[in-house]
Amino acid sequence: MTLAHVHPGPATGPGTGQLLTIVAALLVAVAYLLAAGRLRRRGDAWPRWRDVSFTAGGVGTAWASGGIVPGGPFTGHMIQHLVVGMAAPLPFVVARPLTLALRALRPGRARRRLLVLARSRPVGWLVLPPLAALLDVGGLWLLYRTDLFATMRHQPLLHGVVHAHMLAAGLAFTFAMCQLDPVRRRWSVAVRGATLLAAGAAHAVLAKTLYASPPPGTDFTPADLHSGAQWMYYGGDVVDAALAVVLGVGWYTAGGRARAPRTRRGAAPTGSKQRLTSAAGALGDRRQGASTVTSAICSTRWRRPPGASGGPPFAASSACSPCTRRPRRR
């Protein structure tokens, strides 16, 4: 309500860092919509729900960064950071922004660089599940169990840095968990599930300790503290469950893909071939056994003869990322 008076960054509305976040979030959403529009204009399929999802992520981030959230100061802070660090990254990530960027960019230096970056070792480390979890939840423990929180409330710059870290670490963690975009290497469901369990547990324990004792150097009222801690606990649950659903859908469709060639071959070879080709043309359905239709996908997906203007995408790297790698999930 009158959060602006008590929220970190004393007696001000959103600070510069937060304003930057708002503008960036909205700009990124617009860029996504433009890129998806470009794909559709040239005849590629790109599901509409991904546009909606990404836009929701952008709007959510912008809203929470604005600092206009209900509740007491601690509850308000908690809801804000729940949205920025946990809830908003999920719709961003399931919209597969990296895949979209790789497909929307024209062949050339920018796309090559983006691909090199996505495949680079540092990014590989950043989205290594346990490390991403440590950066994310470890950061939370530092924030709430050291003097950082109290210090941050009086230093707008530090507050901006913490805010940005939460968003970035949340994005990296969600990205590592969902594993929808092409990166250096993939991790099994077991590794990601175990990481999710550990991260979720660390988050839940932190929430319960906050219920009992406030961050050092702060004096929130017990009622405020309790509601903030419960927001953290149950909000974390909701996001954990959503992440688990994304993992589960990936596992389930991978299983379906592994079974599919056998049943298809057994059933009706001609009909299925037709289906494969049409699907490759529509590009909507990634459930097809990718290896068998790689060339079909590549030639139709990019709708450009290999000789013309830079040839097939990702020619720079030896692999045509979205299709020649292991079949990807839905």
């Binding site: 547990a201 319960k208 219920y211 009992a212 659903v245 596992w251 299983g255 592994a258």
Partner: protein
């Protein structure tokens, strides 16, 4: 996990029924945990979110267990869907597994969480003994139902995949 999906499209009756039972036990435990969370924590408000008498280890185990329940519920759903897709669901074994899961979690919660770790009590401000007895006997009954169903399923000759 995906390996097992790939390898056995036509699994033996034994492995299918064992798997059905295990998957449904996971679902059962997670369902009981959700019932506990929803009914006793949220609706009745009997359990306390955190009653401050908990040790650090208790808190850690509570966090782990709570997250594990949540993930088990989701994972169990997908594993179940996979069994159905492969027509490998042995329903008699599945039901026994479900009740075994319900009962096992109820007993575990009543004995380990409430009594050994003392995370929270069933109800505050009253003599908790009858509540504890009711809680644990209910768990035992559910577990026994599971055992009886398992015995019956086994007696029907392993009752292969029949969904």
């Amino acid at each position: 996990m995906s390996d097992s999906v790939r390898s056995d499209t036509a699994p033996g009756a034994g492995s299918a029924s064992r798997r059905s039972m295990a998957v449904c036990a996971v679902i059962g435990a997670a369902v009981m945990a959700s019932v506990d969370e929803i009914v006793f924590h949220q609706i009745l408000g009997w359990h306390h979110f955190y009653d401050r008498s908990t040790s650090g280890v208790g808190l850690l185990s509570d966090g782990l267990l709570h997250t594990a329940e949540l993930l088990a519920l989701v994972a169990g759903f997908f594993l179940y869907a996979d069994l159905r897709r492969r027509r490998a669901l042995a329903s008699a074994h599945a039901w026994s597994g479900f009740f075994l899961g319900l009962g096992a979690f109820q007993l575990f919660d009543g004995i380990v969480d409430h009594k050994l770790l003392r995370l929270h009590q069933i109800r505050y401000g009253v003599d908790v003994t009858p509540y504890d007895w009711a809680w644990n006997i209910a768990g035992l009954v559910l577990l026994l139902i599971g055992v009886i169903l398992a015995l019956r399923a086994a007696r029907r000759g392993g009752a292969g995949p029949a969904s």
